[in-house]
Symmetry: C2
Subunit: 361 residues, 2 copies
């Protein structure tokens, strides 16, 4: 098991990455003194798979356990669901000392984190991410949010968990499509700051896709470490440092949104967004030769899309204006210098974006 | 004009207390660089009174202005209203750099602060409190919240404003009942930490009740200063220091809740809660002779209630169990030692609470 600490003074916490952590979670949580009653937010499928062992581990540590099931859809990440969870939590909370456990992927983690951030002005919560995407990205760093009809992640808080427990054994049962989606973010970490990780993925992508536990433990701990260091330096995305994590996300989000979140999943959209960022970088002569090609080759090899076919040009352009990171009509892109190196560029000309996009369709 | 700084590192801000500040608010806000578009949350009555001059001041400082009216009722402080405000805010926010102005009393301030805390994971907001209660208490310290059906202030955040602009001229038009409600909190500050302020109120209560601007400026700035110092030492109510502000509030909240928030207003309930705390202190032989009597005399003189007649004994006891500060069935009271001195006591016996309550009915 690897332990990575996110150093944020009184808000510091550990990320544990290993095989079989979930079985010992009760004792680990007990030591953190988060409360005496675990309110576990999850969905029915995940509960069926891990509910019994998790409950057992928590009960053994003399912690009360209550499961709250939310539907396994993107729509669960809404203010409406948050509201209903809070009402349920309130009726359960009779002079207890409750903490929340987010057991699931990004939807569960973001929703549960948001509920924890606002309930009684903030109670403790633990992330137990069950997807690769959540283990390497969304469970770390305290960005909680829910969606509104108008836009994603519009309502939320920066609110750090007290523990992230990433059990890579939980990834073994994931559908290939979900491993791929997570792998898009792993490739992103390689591109933005870890050339050795990038090379590792080039060599071991077949092992990763077949859920080899050693390979998964390696990439999850490596990515967790990168994200932890970035979050430490820019907890609230106020200093521009955390921006680098948005590599591939500016247009990636637009591609996701353009398909009404039904065309491409987040990982696929990020893969396409990263390719578009590479294309823009080449057009603007920012990146060295070969880097963009290597990235495209890897993305193709792992089975992520390299051409945009499921959503229209027009919708992507329209959606990209609504990115909440735009301030006063300026756009901001993380562009490629080389593998492991990026550059933040503001005001990329719309013409360049359009040409790049058209060439990928 | 008095300037009181709340020192919270990167979250520090000023409280301005004076006569006619609202007229210059545009220039003051402009200097803080909070954004270019002011989204003012208020109600129709307050907008009618101050809307024009506020808009003028903001426009003069080249700030865009949009008013959002919420109903002037306690029910506006709900997650439902927050939701509708956020939807409106979203539709207004098209590539703007928005900040929020809370123009009103505690309901507006708590709601607007909560919306600011969660919108885009936190945007800047300014408190322009228009009641004595809000100027001395709720506008300061970043405790934002909305109510659920089940309990008050159950959902919220610790999220500091960027400025509190307390214009005592705004208090001149308040109904006497509202001045009195605020005065209950002012008396509280005297009791918990400022014997000289207490003596000042004893001498000048008639001036205060007739909204003399000098007297109001004195008490608002004095109370703001006390609250600022307490918030600095315990921003998130984690160190027990901020607890002292709850003097009179444990049973005060129960009295408010017992009447469905229609029996006694907050100030009246706090006055009764303070008297009950004094009674408990005497029963437990904590306070010196005379202090409790002085407090009761002052509360009576300013026209706040000293006997509980509008709500039932049973309902108060029932409601007091639901206080969100109770953890694991332990209660916690701020009790009286003398004017300016309190003591926090846990596990006050229920029998003592009941006897004390019965004696005040």
């Amino acid at each position: 098991m690897k332990t990575i600490t996110v150093n944020l003074k009184e808000r510091s916490y550990n990320i544990l990455v290993g095989k079989g952590i979930a079985q010992n979670i009760g004792a680990i949580i007990r030591r953190l003194k988060l409360g005496n009653s675990a309110y576990i937010i999850t969905n029915a499928g995940i509960k069926r798979r891990y509910g019994t062992s998790l409950r057992k581990s928590l009960l053994k540590a003399r912690l009360e356990v209550k499961f709250k099931l939310i539907p396994d859809t993107e729509e669960s990440k809404s203010l409406k669901t948050a509201y209903s969870v809070i009402e349920d939590l309130t009726s359960f909370d009779r002079n207890k000392h409750i903490f929340i456990v987010a057991l699931g992927g990004g939807v569960v983690g973001d929703l549960a984190g948001f509920v924890a951030s606002v309930y009684k002005r903030g109670i403790a919560y633990v992330q137990v991410p069950t997807t690769l995407l959540a283990q390497v990205d969304s469970a770390i760093g305290g960005k909680t949010a829910v969606d509104l009809r108008e836009a994603k992640n519009l309502v939320g808080a920066f609110y750090q968990p007290r523990l992230v427990a990433s059990d890579v054994r939980m990834l073994a049962s994931l559908p290939l499509k979900q491993i791929r989606a997570g792998l898009a973010e792993v490739i992103k970490y390689g591109i933005i700051s870890d050339a050795a990780l990038f090379t590792y993925i080039e060599k071991k992508y077949k092992k990763i896709l077949s859920a080899n536990l050693e390979a998964l433990e390696f990439i999850v701990s490596r990515c967790s470490n990168i994200k932890a260091k970035i979050v430490e330096r820019d907890e609230k995305e106020a200093r521009g440092i955390r921006t680098v994590l948005n590599f591939g996300h500016t247009l990636g989000h637009a591609i996701e949104a353009a398909g009404g979140y039904k065309g491409y999943n987040h990982g696929e959209a990020v893969a396409l967004g990263m390719l578009l960022s590479c294309d823009i970088s080449e057009r603007m002569r920012l990146s060295g030769t070969g880097a963009a090609k290597r990235i495209e080759n890897l993305i193709r090899k792992v089975g992520l899309p390299v051409k945009i076919s499921k959503v229209s040009f027009k919708r992507i352009i329209k959606a990209h204006y609504r990115d909440k990171k735009f301030i006063g009509a300026r756009n901001r892109f993380v562009l490629l210098r080389g593998i492991g190196r990026t550059k933040i560029v503001e005001d990329v000309p719309l013409a360049v974006i359009k040409e790049t996009l058209a060439a990928r369709m």
